[in-house]
Each structure stands twice: as structure tokens, then as C-alpha cells.
């Protein structure tokens, strides 16, 4: 019987798939890196090596871009009607759904994602993202215009060209599809660089894309490191657009590289320190509170909320993500693990009170106890910096104006949660928070039709929704004179 406390579950519980795809996927083929180098990807449940994966560098990115450029400039993909692209994307979606278990297992091993959630939610939502954009591919409209001269004008919304996607490790599957699906629908070709911590599912999806019939060169995957492969993408002279999701620090580098190279379009989805604001009239039993890292609780309800949160934390089972009863898996790697623990120490040093957790969970792997700090002051590091771990900071507030001001005093602006039943509070606060997504009485309420992205140092550009399509297009205005038009 498995001993959950050390974070490692016997393989017989789940059919752990064989790792089949560990090479770069360029122009429809799996190939070694030119240098022959490989890097290790680690299982965060136990720190062991899962597989050795081809390590792409500048030359490999170059090959991938060449393939993507050829596919865009001369290949069938942008020349197919949107409907035809949509059909292939639908096939791709069906394949993803059919292979949900295998894909979910890869993410669980590689990223510590909860397996049951992956199988039932993450992977099907990924397939749904493909379907959403498959259905949008034949619906990208420009406009005919109202010119104030004898001119006929219209806009054509054209694919931007070759896109570089640099995606993070926290949602390997959903990030993959959120980025590639709208770009595919728009008729672009692309080079995807998955995070070095989580290369496996991306390579698997590359394989499925080929099975689906997506032409060679349209979707390329170069696994490797940010400083090499990622930088190569950001500074490539023949990439038309880079979309990056990751830390603010690296986001800056990407944007700088884009500027100094060829002024490629940039979209950034970066860090956050999203506030959850719980008002006195909130339903204290709501699930919402659990999700935030910076939780402002109005004084009237403060004690009740704190107690409920501690109860929840006690039942928040940490363990092997393959176990369906577990609510929290390991952090993605040693670096993140150590980083989170050091933030916890910082919090204690700065004088926040540790109410719950605060230590490693178990002895092996990168598991951390759900951690709650109270008596946190806004200036403290744990209230300002993105921790990216299971550490909640609770703060008390009095008035709605105070909550708004404190919620906004952050360089970030990704999301916010508002917990209230009052219509005016909901409307006022949602308009006042400087964040790209506001969730009222819910959290992480993602939907393929709902644009998602940040304000301020959380980045710019939106993923999901029809808006995401326009990240991968360029607008061309076409104008010609007209004569004797009966109307203008």
C-alpha cells in the first residue's frame, strides 16, 4: 500500500505511460538537437529523472523557424479557407480527448498536476479550446468602411505570420492549447518552446497534431531552456510575433529582445499578486477564499473566515497527484520549492503570524504544506511579491475604499476576486480594481469565450475568447477610388 506521506505512489495505481516523445518536433518530424544535447526532466514527486529530452538551442530554433516560414509563405495552411483549418483542428481536438489519460499522466509526472483533474478537466478543456478556435477559424471578419471621400475602403484581417510561443510549466496542457489554437485558426505557423520543467505533453501534442493532418512545418516544438532557445525565439529576425507567458522578469527580457531584433509583436502574460476581497456580506462557506494569495477580509467577517480557512487547510490533502483524493501535489521543481520555503521564512522574519503550515510536507519530492499567514502588512514581502506556492496572506480591512486602494497597491494587475452579495459593492469594486480579470463570487472561472490577461506588470494582450485571435493577425486597409456612387 502506498505511503502517501513521502509523496510517492506505487505505479500500479495508474497506468503510467511510456514516454514516447523526447525529441524536437520540426517540420513534421521528431529530430535530435543539432548539438545532440539532452536535458533531464524531473518528477517532482520524488526528484527522479523521468526522461532525457532533446535540448534545443539557437540553431534548432533557426531550423524550426525556417520550417514555419516555408509553411507560412508557401504551404497550404494559410491558403486553406478557415473552415478547412477548422476541420483539421477538430480532428486534433478529438485525438487529444481520446488520449486524455496518457496526456494527463504526462502532466502529472512532469509538473505534479493532479491526475484526476487533468483527465476530467484540463485535457478536455484543452480539446475544447481547440474546438472553440476551430469554430472561429471561418469567422474572422474585417470591415468595409465609411470613408469620407469618394473612396471604397475595407480592412482585411490577415494572419501575422510565424509566431513564437514561449509557454510556462504551471498549466502545460492548457497553456499549449490556449496559445496554439487561436494562432492555428488565424492561419499562422509557429514554434512552441515549452518550459524546460515540462516538455513532455507538448511533444505528445505535436505528435497528435501530425496524426490529425496538420501540415508539416505549421506547428513546431523546440524543447529547451529560456536563456538559449527562448532567447533565440525572442530575438529571431524571422519571427513575426512572440507570445510569452511566465515571470515578469523574463517578460521584460523577451520584450527587450523583440525590440532590439525586428520589432516583432509581443504579448505578455506575466506574474500576479491577485487580491481576493471578502466583504462582510459574503457567504463564508464559499470556495472562493481558498484560491487567493493575498486575501483581504473585512473586519466584520474576519474571524469567521480565518477559522473556516484553517478548517479547509486541515483537510487540504497534500500528496501524490495520481491519488484522486489528493488536493495538492508537489511544487514543479527544486528551485520553486526552495523559493517558496524562503518566502515563508521571510514572512516569519517580517513579523507575519504563521497560522497554519509553513514547512515541507513529507520527506521526498517538492511538497509544501498549505500555509496561512495572518497579521500581514501590505509592505511585507509576502504581500508584495509573487510567491507561486501554497502560501496565503490574510489582511483585515475596514471600508470598501480602503480595500480598493490596498488591492490596487501592487505593480501587478492580473486578476481579482470579489466576494460579496451586494450589487453596488460588486459593481463599484469590479470597475475600480486595476486588473484584467475580475471574478465575483468565483475564482479561476476560465472559459474559452472569456478573454484573460493582465494590466500593469502582469502584461498585455489577452488569451482566450475571440480577442485572442487578433493577437495573431494584422489588419490591412485596402482603399480604392469609386466613381458615381449613389451613396457615400
Amino acid at each position: 500500500m502506498a505511503d502517501k506521506s513521502n509523496g510517492y505512489l506505487a505505479d500500479s495505481f495508474i497506468n503510467i505511460p511510456e514516454i514516447k516523445f523526447t525529441k524536437l518536433f520540426i517540420n513534421g518530424e521528431f529530430v535530435d538537437a543539432i548539438s545532440g544535447k539532452r536535458f533531464e526532466t524531473i518528477d517532482p514527486r520524488n526528484g527522479e529523472v523521468i526522461a532525457r529530452v532533446a535540448e534545443g538551442d539557437t540553431e534548432d530554433v533557426d531550423l524550426a523557424v525556417k520550417a514555419a516560414r516555408q509553411a507560412f509563405d508557401h504551404g497550404p495552411w494559410p491558403r486553406m479557407p478557415g473552415h478547412a483549418r477548422g476541420r483539421l483542428m477538430m480532428k486534433f481536438a478529438d485525438l487529444v480527448e481520446q488520449h486524455a489519460e496518457e496526456a494527463a499522466a504526462l502532466d502529472t509526472m512532469d509538473a505534479g498536476k493532479l491526475y484526476s483533474i487533468g483527465k476530467l478537466l484540463d485535457i478536455p478543456v484543452g480539446a475544447a479550446s481547440l474546438r472553440y478556435y476551430a469554430g472561429a477559424a471561418d469567422k474572422i471578419h474585417g470591415e468595409t468602411l465609411k470613408m469620407s471621400r469618394e473612396l471604397h475602403g475595407y480592412t482585411l484581417v490577415e494572419p501575422v505570420g510565424v509566431v513564437g510561443h514561449i509557454i510556462p510549466w504551471n498549466f502545460p496542457t492548457n497553456m499549449f492549447f490556449m496559445k496554439t489554437a487561436p494562432a492555428l485558426a488565424a492561419g499562422c505557423t509557429m514554434v512552441v518552446k515549452p518550459a524546460e520543467q515540462t516538455p513532455l505533453s507538448a511533444l505528445f501534442y505535436a505528435y497528435l497534431s501530425k496524426l490529425a493532418g496538420i501540415p508539416d512545418g505549421v506547428l513546431n516544438v523546440v524543447t529547451g531552456f529560456g536563456a538559449t532557445a527562448g532567447a533565440a525565439i525572442a530575438s529571431h529576425m524571422d519571427i513575426d510575433k512572440v507570445s510569452f507567458t511566465g515571470s515578469t522578469e523574463v517578460g521584460r527580457l523577451v520584450m527587450q529582445a523583440a525590440a532590439t531584433s525586428n520589432l516583432k509583436h509581443v504579448s505578455l502574460e506575466l506574474g500576479g499578486k491577485s487580491p481576493v476581497i471578502v466583504f462582510d456580506d459574503a457567504d463564508p462557506d464559499g470556495e472562493v477564499c481558498v484560491a487567493g494569495s493575498r486575501v483581504f477580509v473585512q473586519e466584520g467577517i474576519y474571524d469567521e473566515v480565518v477559522n473556516k480557512l484553517v478548517e479547509k487547510a486541515k483537510n487540504w490533502t497534500v500528496g501524490d497527484p495520481f491519488d484522486p483524493n489528493v488536493k495538492q501535489g508537489p511544487q514543479v521543481d527544486k528551485k520553486q520549492f526552495e523559493r517558496v520555503l524562503s518566502y515563508i521564512e521571510q514572512g516569519k522574519r517580517d513579523g507575519a503570524s504563521l497560522l497554519f503550515g509553513g514547512k515541507q510536507h513529507g520527506k521526498n519530492g517538492y511538497y509544501i504544506q498549505p500555509t496561512i499567514f495572518i497579521d500581514v502588512e501590505d509592505h511585507m514581502v509576502v504581500a508584495q511579491e509573487e510567491i507561486f506556492g501554497p502560501v496565503m496572506s490574510l489582511m483585515k480591512f475596514k471600508t470598501i475604499e480602503e480595500a480598493i486602494e490596498r488591492a490596487n497597491s501592487t505593480k501587478y494587475g492580473l486578476a481579482a476576486g470579489i466576494v460579496t452579495k451586494n450589487i453596488d459593492t460588486a459593481n463599484t469594486v469590479s470597475r475600480s480594481i486595476r486588473a484584467g480579470v475580475v471574478w465575483i463570487n468565483c475564482y479561476f472561472a476560465f472559459d474559452n469565450d472569456c478573454p484573460y490577461g493582465g494590466y500593469k506588470l502582469s502584461g498585455f494582450g489577452r488569451d482566450l475568447g475571440m480577442e485572442a485571435l487578433y493577437k495573431y493577425t494584422q489588419t490591412k486597409s485596402v482603399v480604392t477610388p469609386i466613381y458615381n456612387s449613389p451613396w457615400l
Binding site: G86, A137, D138, K139, S432, P481
Partner: protein
């Protein structure tokens, strides 16, 4: 030759199917040898490779007899023989259907399921229809008379395409948030309108089903559909597949029957929220009247036309001849938008007439189940006799009969491809919608003149323009008072291209994003804001 020309000017989908190398049909059309004699066309109608399994009304997910027990015949236009007895719906059946639709909308799962789930149902349906392509095409040809190749290679696939198109809209129906002049939060919600009554014609039974039912369902509505009495069969077949795909009962109800009874009952029903009709202008007027007199339900109408095809002096004449031919003769001349007034510039007139005459003389007419046939029979005796009367009128008013002019054979409703030249605007054949294989060629001198004459009609459905000149194209496109202008092409009907009429050719647009608004209501929701950070 004809097949290749068609491919160069009409929509890609049409081209791909008609010139598919695997069929060998291209060569038959190319040779153009077929002018079937009386005997060959009629004597041995091919037995259609399909059975008729669905002949009852579809109400609340069940196939049921009409309340009256009555049935009517649906007829094979190749012979006049009965194909099947079909349940004849009347007001009582319409009432039951509307009640079922109302319940399905107000209480049932359809509007309450997520848009994504609705799209999955529609996509499953599309996949099922695709599997049944050939049987459905055979049924369509049997009931309507259009060439089987047209049904199997173009229309059923286009039906599938349309449902996939609409499925892709289901989860993308957006309203707006709107700037107010003061501190208000304003949203517009685009809600399903409710129960849609839809009345479709006999010329494209399956495609008209898709144009109507597709957007209505994608927007989350319930539907009561009345098919044309001439062509009730294919709708029942696909409606069954739609239920197999998971459509909840009551969401789509299909009533076979007649206009003055079942049709009028839908138009006048106090519990139908929206009406959509495709058919003749004269019936369209009745439909609008009944809607107004009952509960003011909003109405969209797709009606008749007398669409001009304008062949300019710089046109590629051979291409223009072929496309103008297709524009008129396609579907036995039975298209609302058929190019039924062919204006040819005097400089190319003689050449055009010669070539148009030859092309029509080569048009192969016969059993639509026979390979290589371009034209089947007209739909029924009423249409058949009406067309012959118009031909007679053409002759009597002095138009030159270049070719054709009579029926073909002694059984069924076949008419020879007919071309009139030297037609003038005052002739009946230049004014009335004939809805048959009768091309009228008129001469013109100048652009201003042809604009004036092309617009001198109470119709305004479509127009074709043949020119290589950018300015001529732009000028004519803007000047023609019609809902669709096809430049150097005709009958390009892709899913996203909106279609509909100006003037008495109709109200509203179908297909494309525009079709959605026919099946949505806009609700503004307004809330005051306290201390908004911006306005």
C-alpha cells in the same frame, strides 16, 4: 468543357465536387452530347437507391400521424407518380408542435445547456448527415428532381458544412457593454428569441432547412418547421438524425402540409415568437400580414427575384456565357436568385447570343438519377404549366426564340432549355419571375442605362456583373439595388456570406453572422454605479 468552366467561376466547393476526377462525370458533361429524346428521358426512370422511412409529422421527439389522420401524396416529378403518402399537418398539429416547442424552450434542457454542449449536438448531427450522404441525396433528388450529382456532391455536403458553421457560432454569441452618458453599468444580452416558426420552399429542401434550422438552434431556440408540400421527405430524414445526435424532444418539430392550412397556422400563432419564410413574394406578403394581425412576431422573408446578369463590353465572353447560363439554368431554373435578365453590351451581344444558344442546346436534360444529366424535371404541374405559358408569352410578344420552347417528353415535367433574345423590358418574360429554364437576353449600350434598367424592378435579390475593369465593377456593385452582387461569378453560397433581398425580394439576411440576429432578442440591462473609477 462545361464542368471545367463551372469550376473556374463558381464556389470552390461546387467546383471540387463537380469536377472530381474520380467520377468520370466531367467527361460526360464535357461532351455535351446529351439531348435526350422523349423515349430515353422518360420511359425508364431509374429506381432511386433509397427507401422512404419517414412520412409522419415529428412533434416532441416522436413521429406521429396528423390529428385528422389525413395524408397527402408527394410526387416524383420525373413521372407524376406518387412516391409516398405523407401525414398532412393542419392547425391542430401546429398547435401541438408549438406547445411542444414552447415547453422545450421554457422548461427543457436546450436553452439551459451550455453553448458548448449545444455545439457538440450540432456537430454530431453534421457527422451523422455526412455518413448518410448518399441516401439523403437520393431522397432529395427523388422528391425534388434535381440531378443526383448535385444533391450528393454539392448540396448534402453544403448542408453538413452549414451546420458545422453554425455550431461554431453557438459559443461565441456576444452582446456588448455599452458606455452610458452617466454613472450606469450597461450590458446588452443577446438572448434566444424563443419559438421560431419556419416555412421553407421546395427548390432546395435540405439547404433551406440548414439556412433556417442551423442558426435558430445555434442560438438556443426551439423550432416548428413546415416543409413545402412538394418536398416533405428529406427534412423528416434529417430531423430523425438530429434527434439521434442528442437534440432534446420538442426542440425541433417538423410539420408536413400545405401553406393555407399549416403554414397560415404557424404565421398566425399567438405563441410563435419569430417567423422566417422563404417562398414567393405574393405568399410572403400574406405571411407578413398574418404575423402583423396576430402577435406582431418579427418576420424575415426570402422571396422572389428577377436578377440581372450584366455582361459588359470588356467581359471574358466565354466565361460570361457559361456563368450566365449556370446562373439561369441551375436547379432547373428554380432559384430565387436565378439570373433571369441577361443584359449584354451591344458590342458583344451577337457573339454572346450565339454562344448562349449553343450552350443551352447542349444542356443535357433527363432522369436526374442518370449520370451526366444537368437538368431534371420541373417540380410539379403547376410550375410546369406556368413556365410553358411564359414561353408562349415570350413568343407572342415578339422575343426571338433561339432554342427550346417546349416540353420534353410526355411524362413528368421536363422542359427544354429555352433561350430568348431581343427581349425588351416591357415584355412579361422580362418582368415576371418565371422560375424555369428560360433565359432572356437583352441588349444595352451604356453603364448608366443598364443600371437604370437593371434597377427598374420591384425585386432586388441578386445580380451578376461580368467585367475585367475595377472601376466598372465597383460602380455597378454599388449602384445595383440588390442584396448580393456577384462579380465574375454567380451563386457563390459559402456559409459566411449573407444572403437576402432588397425591396420586394425580402426582409433580412440569412447565413453568415447576420443570420444570428434573426434568432436573438436584445435585452439591455442597466444598473447605477456608485463612485465609478471611470466612465
Amino acid at each position: 468543357m462545361a464542368g471545367r468552366r463551372i469550376s473556374s467561376v463558381v464556389s470552390r466547393s461546387l467546383a471540387a465536387y463537380l469536377t472530381s476526377p474520380s467520377s468520370g462525370r466531367t467527361s460526360c458533361i464535357r461532351r455535351g452530347l446529351h439531348k435526350y429524346s422523349t423515349a430515353a428521358a422518360i420511359d425508364e426512370p431509374i429506381t432511386p437507391p433509397v427507401e422512404v422511412n419517414y412520412t409522419k409529422l415529428l412533434i416532441n421527439g416522436q413521429f406521429v400521424d396528423a390529428a385528422s389522420g389525413k395524408t397527402f401524396h408527394t410526387v416524383d416529378p420525373r413521372t407524376g407518380n406518387v412516391i409516398a403518402d405523407v401525414a398532412e399537418g393542419d392547425a391542430q398539429d401546429v398547435n401541438r408542435a408549438v406547445a411542444a416547442a414552447r415547453k422545450a424552450f421554457d422548461e427543457g434542457p436546450w436553452p439551459k445547456m451550455t453553448a458548448y454542449e449545444r455545439s457538440r449536438v450540432l456537430l454530431r448531427f453534421a457527422d451523422l448527415v455526412e455518413k448518410h450522404n448518399d441516401a439523403l441525396a437520393a431522397l432529395e433528388t427523388w422528391d425534388n428532381g434535381k440531378p443526383y450529382e448535385q444533391s450528393a456532391k454539392v448540396e448534402v455536403p453544403m448542408f453538413v458544412r452549414l451546420f458545422r458553421y453554425y455550431a461554431g457560432w453557438a459559443d461565441k454569441i456576444h452582446g456588448l457593454t455599452v458606455p452610458a452618458d452617466g454613472p450606469y453599468h450597461v450590458q446588452t444580452l443577446h438572448e434566444p428569441i424563443g419559438v421560431a416558426g419556419q416555412i421553407i420552399p421546395w427548390n432546395f429542401p435540405l439547404l433551406m432547412f440548414a439556412w433556417k434550422v442551423g442558426p435558430a438552434l445555434a442560438c438556443g431556440n426551439a423550432v416548428v418547421l413546415k416543409t413545402a408540400e412538394q418536398t416533405p421527405l428529406s427534412a423528416l430524414y434529417v430531423a430523425n438524425l438530429l434527434h439521434e445526435a442528442g437534440l432534446p424532444p420538442g426542440v425541433l418539430n417538423v410539420i408536413s402540409g400545405f401553406g393555407p392550412t399549416a403554414g397560415a397556422a404557424i404565421c398566425s400563432h399567438m405563441d410563435v415568437d419569430k417567423l422566417a419564410f422563404t417562398g414567393s413574394t405574393s405568399t410572403g406578403k400574406l405571411v407578413l400580414e398574418l404575423a402583423a394581425k396576430s402577435n406582431l412576431k418579427p418576420v424575415t422573408l426570402e422571396l422572389g427575384g428577377k436578377s440581372p446578369v450584366i455582361v459588359c463590353e470588356d467581359a471574358d465572353v466565354d466565361k460570361a456565357v457559361e456563368t450566365a447560363h449556370f446562373a439561369l439554368f441551375f436547379n432547373q431554373g428554380q432559384c430565387c436568385c436565378s439570373g433571369s435578365r441577361t443584359f449584354v453590351h451591344e458590342r458583344v451581344y451577337d457573339e454572346f447570343v450565339e454562344k448562349a444558344k449553343a450552350r443551352a442546346a447542349n444542356r443535357s436534360v433527363g432522369d436526374p438519377f442518370k449520370q451526366g444529366i444537368e437538368q431534371g424535371p420541373q417540380i410539379d404541374p403547376e410550375q410546369f404549366n406556368k413556365i410553358l405559358r411564359y414561353i408562349k408569352s415570350g413568343v407572342e410578344t415578339g422575343a426571338t426564340l433561339e432554342t427550346g420552347g417546349d416540353r420534353l417528353g410526355s411524362k413528368g415535367y421536363y422542359i427544354q432549355p429555352t433561350v430568348f433574345s431581343n427581349v425588351t423590358d416591357d415584355m412579361l418574360i422580362a418582368q415576371d419571375e418565371i422560375f424555369g429554364p428560360v433565359q432572356s437576353i437583352l441588349k444595352y449600350k451604356s453603364t448608366e442605362e443598364v443600371i437604370r434598367r437593371a434597377n427598374a424592378t420591384s425585386y432586388g435579390l441578386a445580380a451578376g456583373v461580368f467585367t475585367q475593369n475595377l472601376d466598372t465593377a465597383n460602380t455597378l456593385a454599388r449602384a445595383l439595388r440588390v442584396g448580393t452582387v456577384w462579380i465574375n461569378c454567380y451563386d457563390t453560397f459559402d456559409a459566411a456570406i449573407p444572403f437576402g433581398g432588397y425591396k420586394m425580394s425580402g426582409i433580412g439576411r440569412e447565413k453568415g453572422v447576420y443570420s444570428l440576429r434573426n434568432y436573438l432578442q436584445v435585452k439591455s440591462v442597466v444598473t447605477p454605479l456608485k463612485n465609478p473609477a471611470w466612465l
